[in-house]
Amino acid sequence: MLQRAPVAPRGPRNASPSVRGRGGIQKRSKAGGPGRVDRDGDLVMDATAAGDKRRSGKGRLEGPASSRGAGRGRGGPSRGANFGAVKTQQAIIRGLETRQANVLESRITTGGTTLQIDGLSSSKAASNPDGGVESLLAFLERKASGPNRNVKIKKSHKKGDSVFVTASSEDIAEIQKLDGFTFAGATLGIQARDSPSSASRPDKFGDKRKDEVSSNAMEIKERLKGVLAARYNGDLKLLNLSALAQDPGLKEMGVFDGNTTTSKIFPALMVVCGGLFKTRQEKQDAIVSVTLADNDLADVSDVTALAQTFPDLQHLDLSRNRLTQMSNFDAWGAKFRHLSTLILTGNPIETQLATLKPDIMKKYPYLEILNGIQIRTPEEVAAALETAKSPIPIAGPDFRDVGQVGENFIRQFVVLYDTDRSALLANFYDAQSVHSLSVNQNAPRGHKNSAPIAPWAPYIKQSRNLVKINNLPTQMTRLHRGSQAIQKLWSALPATRHPDIQTAGDKYLIECHALPGLADPTGQSVRGVDGLIITMHGEFEEQNESPGISLRSFSRTFVLGPGASGAQPIRVVSDMLTLRAWGPLALPKPPLNPQANTTIITTEQQKQEAMAMQLVERTGMTPQYSALCLTETGWDLEKAFMAFTANKDKLPADAFITNAAS
């Protein structure tokens, strides 16, 4: 979390509390820019004071670093590249949605309701009878209060050298801005801490870890967070990592002293940045664009970590670096598959590589805009995504029924499960039938299917996912044996409606295989009886209180065997259900889409043809005989060659090319 990160630098958000109370705040700055002075004559740090701003003293990263132009086109790096920057930013802005919640920003500002304040012990007030706590609190309240806000600290306690204060979250936000202020000769360090009431906050560097991490490392981490916060533009969801070597915050840390390059600091920045997000989705939502302009990069190997931290990046600006050839991108491998904008303007590669456009298009199959020029239409990108073939060809179901037993069962199951679960149990389940269910909350879904998911509450109490449930009694109680126990479970589950198997068969994928060796419930056959194993994948609608999000996907495995009595000819031996968020089934591509189908066939054919030609070369057989030989040996070249060696004397003369030719 960016707990202590500065909140000031974003213009509009900074507007209201720019007037402070009285007193000697020393937010010193040598900024050449027009610093603002409040009514008491104290200098107020503000975004306009950007540029090469060094802070005096040993203070931590205090307040804003600089406004860094992220999309606002001012105060940019001192390269005089503002015009280009504006242009690239415009390119990046294209297609961005700006209305979504600003995840990163909220992380920066919502610091919980407890703050840890350090620095008191080295202040002059430390010699007060109470250790200076009272005057510190008064100082904080006074400084944090504005004309429209009276900041009140609710609770405080001193622990070691730190003082912990609790207040409303609005007040906390104001107090937090005093981080780096000077109190009685000491610089205050203020950072948010998890309070019990906000324990759910995803803080990677929470209390437990904090003590383990050395204070030095923490300090660095905090400083990097500050640097990142100043470089993040929430409106554009843009992380501006341009001209890192000129960053005042980083300069102050001394990371660019001597010959240190971006390659040193970048991985650390990425680690800190990655740590801000709990899930990949959060990261995707917060940051869609990154600019790495003006970083003197001759190769992306210095910034390899970008690919690990932001694999789903959509817009990337590499302007004005020193990239010269395609191999400069090798360090990113096949990452950034979903890049839609790439800017390479101002790199030697622009003029040195004649095949830049086709090469880049090949490397980034869904890229739409290169250097501000459209290279693919959105339709073309959509088509490319559509035909991106699965590495494993999706095949239709393999349904090998025995006497339509499986088919009849499934037909009845689907209808009765929706309409009359008791009848279903009476027809097919007996005292030995076993049923359990599990919930897959992490099933991958396609880009198009990110619809919200109805709460899993009705199922989760019964989920027997052994990956998560390690308690043996729980594992056993969630295994339901016998129709009575199953009835009890099913009556508590939401009502469902499965698609009609007759008219909506494409919503299902059902496979069926014979399964020998089941125990004979009548005890007559010692060697067991034959049964069926059925795997079924599909979806159902659920009656729940979440309108519009009633669909769920499932996979279900049944083992069927002969019933113990004539009244129940078929029994369910096992019934295992897994539920997951809805997504369409991976069905084999219909022949309507010949392109996709032929790719698979062609590659298979091409492979076989190539193999046949190899055999031709090695054996002298005709292509026809080579293909025949390969077919008989399951398209295994070595096996085919062995078979050939073993049988070549028996082959007819016309099996060989040389004979045919001579």
Binding site: S390, V434, P444, L466, A519, V573
Partner: protein, 124 residues
């Protein structure tokens, strides 16, 4: 009674580790009467099964198991396992959702082998 759960967990872990490291080494888990149904193509016999697996068109593969459930299957002391999870192959960033059913049978010598192995991509 609880033993089948441990077997199921250990088996699943071992199977996917081995699959992701070097799937050619999976031979000992299958027998001549084992059946693999991989994307609807069925193969019988340990050698054929592993050839099929080895020949799949990817080099790097990673299974991420999301759910695992297991039931004792009948008096044969077999174990029925249903796994769902995500599959990442080669440089493909997009995980595929899969469902895999195993039926394990005791081999008579104190361990288990895969009698049925049914793999299906449920969302590609």
């Amino acid at each position: 009674m609880a033993n089948f759960l441990e077997v199921a967990q250990q088996f699943t872990q071992f199977y996917y580790n081995q699959f992701d490291q070097d799937r050619k080494q999976l031979v000992p888990l299958y027998r001549e009467n084992s059946m693999l149904t991989f994307e609807s193509a069925s193969v019988q016999g340990a050698t054929g099964i592993v050839e099929k697996l080895a020949g799949l068109p990817f080099a790097k593969v990673q299974h991420k198991v999301a759910t695992l459930d297991a039931q004792p299957s009948g008096e044969s002391q077999g174990i029925l396992i249903l796994v769902t999870g995500a599959l990442l192959v080669d440089e493909e960033q997009r995980p595929m959702s899969y469902s895999q059913t195993f039926q394990l049978l005791p081999d008579g010598a104190g361990s288990f082998y895969i009698f049925n192995d049914i793999f299906k991509l449920v969302y590609g």
